[in-house]
Subunit: 352 residues, 2 copies
DNA sequence: TTGTAGGCGTTATCAG
DNA sequence: CTGATAACGCCTACAA
């Protein structure tokens, strides 16, 4: 591969001058500058990022550690981050932690040795990343956590308003007349799962609806979890007329359980999910869901990181993105009162 | 960050000895070896990958260029590649080309400057990557193309048997009695789209069924493309009783078009997709689809690459993965003969 | 078996 | 404004 020395020789200048031209670090005379530039494009020279990074003590890589790219919510997050990073000259190194804290730590430790310009993490379960982040911070490298926050996190973060999103969804169900509500939550050690449950509870509180603890089921954030815990809910007496699923994968499992139980959605059981994944549009019935922008989540994180790289050393930023409720056919009025004409709450987005 | 010099000082040995211990490049006496190892773990030392890469002229990064991580088929591919790479000590640098050849080239060019151990590419439209690959080859860096092949590709590749997969699907439709078949293909400059069309045609040929050219519609590999071209198909007289969609996103759009046209799937129109994405399980009706393993695609590619890194310099490998047909409810016998009892072809996987 | 030194490609500092 | 030179952290002959 061509290097600066060759360019210098071709342009009949010294190595230092080539560097100056490439980095605009000195006002090189125009004719000389031209000679260098010509040589550069003649051989298609591109600076060796390894050498540059070694010397500058910083590369143009941004490390991103996520639980699992295979989870349908994360690709958009990655894409958002990559777009912003790329537009600013940064590249993404992607690592899957599989929600294993040890794998997450291993990635974080190794990524350091690439001298990345910054790190974006969607924390795995249980993780306290303070120590790791501190190591990066000391090296002047920003770390931003997104989607969920690790224990005691005091650094930059981007999340969505999970509490409010859940509240809005459940409040909608309440306004439709549902009194027997239930929820399948995510793993409650995750902040987002916890916050969504909090929103669920607040909506019930405000409506002065009390439910028994067994109407709140904790599951993993996947189809299987949703399926199993929904089965449990459907066996309760009285059977819930509406279920709030803490994410769309859980909702998918819930749909399956409802169908298998010989019940109809939404006639017998209304269902609301969270995430508004594309696949919710094509289920039967189409899934009503709290919409959050994964893309924005990733893009904001990268954006914060780039500000930090540019020198912003202000206090920790905590961006909280808004959610909206996307209405689709998986929700209707509760069975007993389906003949009543209810006012449709405003302020919601209707699609298809 | 700690470096070898510090470790050397702590262990009261020279810098070279530390290196020898770390790389097993010399038989260091056990007590000395221990001292070094202790120092290493005491400060959590990890070698700087930039320096190591610069020196060795090769890093442990594998560059992966894909069209768009947001496309539901690709995450599994990436995951497969990452798993195998990670297990062998390699990390993935992910780049999205958006199917823009220029962006693809830019990524490929820049990736070189990281001195990656290898490159995995899902080629974008129209791309001839021979020149780029040659540059890598000269540097001793392997490049493997997957999913689709660029023009004139002579290097390593992993693809699925698109022709056979499509054949199997269409043959199934034919055996069910369908005579009025149609297909919505992908962009025919892509090898996978072309091969799937070839399989479609072979199945018709073997059954001696002739169709007019307008029963073959070319679309982009997405929902919108599938929707528009299916609308066109449904207006033809006679209307096709079965449609083979070249991928599941097209099939999703087709489903939408069928529904909007006031028709029922599968009663009026049978539909088969390609990819067997998860979302096909939850559509209404569930989508019959040719199943291919994206994970395996990525994993095989990484595996070939690692062989190359280890020194395998044999002739180009062309791995072709098998497909299978996953039967679901979007397919039935054609309308006119729905009362006939037809023998179910064997050799198919039935799910749910 | 252990230590020394040169250099990978780049940037930054400092003379000229 | 331009050019020489010393690092950055590591590996690898080669020397001891």
């Amino acid at each position: 591969m061509s290097n600066m020395k060759q360019i210098a020789k071709m342009a009949r200048v010294s190595l230092g001058t080539v560097s100056h031209v490439l980095n605009n670090s000195a006002n090189v005379r125009e004719p000389v500058r031209q000679r260098v530039l010509e040589a550069v494009s003649a051989v298609g020279y591109q600076p060796n990022q390894l050498a540059r990074g070694l010397r500058r003590d910083k590369t143009n890589m941004i490390g991103m550690v996520i639980p699992d790219i295979t989870n349908p919510f994360f690709p958009a997050v990655v894409r958002g981050a990559e777009d912003v990073a790329f537009a600013n000259g940064y590249r993404l190194v992607l690592c899957n932690s599989d929600n294993h804290h040890s794998k997450e730590l291993a990635h974080l430790n190794e990524l350091r040795t690439y001298l990345p310009a910054g790190i974006i993490v969607i924390p795995s379960n249980f993780s306290d990343l303070t120590a790791q982040a501190e190591v990066y911070r000391r090296a002047g490298t920003g770390v931003v956590c997104i989607d969920r926050l690790p224990k005691n996190w005091r650094g930059d973060s981007v999340t969505v308003d999970n509490e409010q999103g859940a509240f809005q969804a459940v409040d909608y169900l309440v306004k439709l007349g549902h009194k027997h509500l239930a929820t399948v939550t995510g793993p409650l050690h995750l902040t987002n799962a916890k916050d969504r449950l909090a929103g669920f509870n607040r909506a019930l509180d405000e409506a002065k609806i009390h439910i028994l603890p067994e109407y709140i089921q904790e599951a993993t954030f996947d189809k299987r979890g949703g399926y199993l815990k929904t089965l449990a809910l459907l066996h309760l007496v009285p059977r819930p007329t509406a279920i709030f699923a803490a994410n769309d994968m859980i909702a998918l499992g819930a749909l399956l359980a409802i169908r298998e139980g010989g019940l109809r959605c939404p006639e017998d059981v209304s269902l609301v999910g969270f995430d508004d994944l594309d696949l919710g549009e094509t289920t039967n019935p189409a899934l009503c869901s709290v919409s959050q922008s994964g893309y924005q989540l990733g893009a904001s994180a990268a954006s914060i990181l780039i500000d930090r790289i540019k020198g912003d050393d202000g206090p920790a930023k905590h961006v909280v993105l808004k959610t909206s409720l996307t209405l689709r056919n998986s929700v209707t009025t509760p069975p007993e009162m389906s003949e009543l004409h209810l006012v449709q709450p405003s302020n919601f987005v209707r699609r298809h």
